[in-house]
Symmetry: C2
Subunit: 198 residues, 2 copies
Amino acid sequence: MKELIVATRNAGKLKEISRLCKEHGIVVLGLERFPELPEIEEDGESFAANAIKKAGFVTKETGLPCLADDSGLVVDALGGRPGIHSARYAGDNADDSANNRKLILAMQNVPDDRRQAAFCCVMAFSRPDSEPLLFEGQISGTILREPRGDGGFGYDPLFFIPEYGLTMAQLPLSKKNRISHRGQALMKVIETLGSLSF
Amino acid sequence: MKELIVATRNAGKLKEISRLCKEHGIVVLGLERFPELPEIEEDGESFAANAIKKAGFVTKETGLPCLADDSGLVVDALGGRPGIHSARYAGDNADDSANNRKLILAMQNVPDDRRQAAFCCVMAFSRPDSEPLLFEGQISGTILREPRGDGGFGYDPLFFIPEYGLTMAQLPLSKKNRISHRGQALMKVIETLGSLSF
């Protein structure tokens, strides 16, 4: 039986990953099973650096394979910000609503045709004595001037997907899980892990 | 004109990378041009983690694209060691000769048919506001019981390539630069950077 630690403190994320892994015969262990592991500082300069650091650290400490991710919102007109700082855009203890307000403000003078953005996710899979594998997912959209919808979390209510005519916060969860940056990265992970021995 | 910092303190490595880049219209700047940059600690759990960390740090500090690498010797019978610790296998200030002696000793009871190893190299290319790109190179061989040849550096004299009937330290430099783990990774880098705008 394949066993895998998923390095997230986000219960929703853990649940979604567990469900997909289970379908492929992989048992997912949450970080709560390893209370002795310290919080891992996400101080890298990229999503990939943070994901690799988290996965590598957990594997080193536990001896078990680990899947870790880092993701965020990359806004063209803001030179890629908030990017790796998405969760703490409005300050170290900022909540979603403060981050969204800051984004609305930062974009208030950006015209309608220059509001392109992307949600990006990088997942890193590590095993003992092996180089990590990286998987990326991305979804393109535009940044609205005010929130729409109350599903999802983070910047979802401001992230409009022209193809669906809805924000990420208006999509049904099953749909979001399939098309989102995280969903796409995860699909690539599952494809690979299904055929990898670990 | 494309400009690129190469994050290495190894003069031979810098020279080889500069030569290949120049052929493709890319100007290489060495780290000696940036004396204010501190030494970057290679404390990652994988070659990829170290390469990404170095490249990302230099790009953040200078605002310029950067190519960094990490590489080492991965020995099957030693569970992948010395791996990311290749340069300091015999201790923090170990030289090539001490590292080689330690490897000979660690492998003395390993039979001839179980001495497989690989030199592995991961290069990371970073630009401002972008995720890093990763490039890998690898060459397979076996570990000898005593050194042969006096070219190259590191574990080259112990690394025998059956295909050529020579150790890495016996290969002419031009040949080594082409087939080595670093040469292969670099070739992939050059192919990509030639068509990338930065």
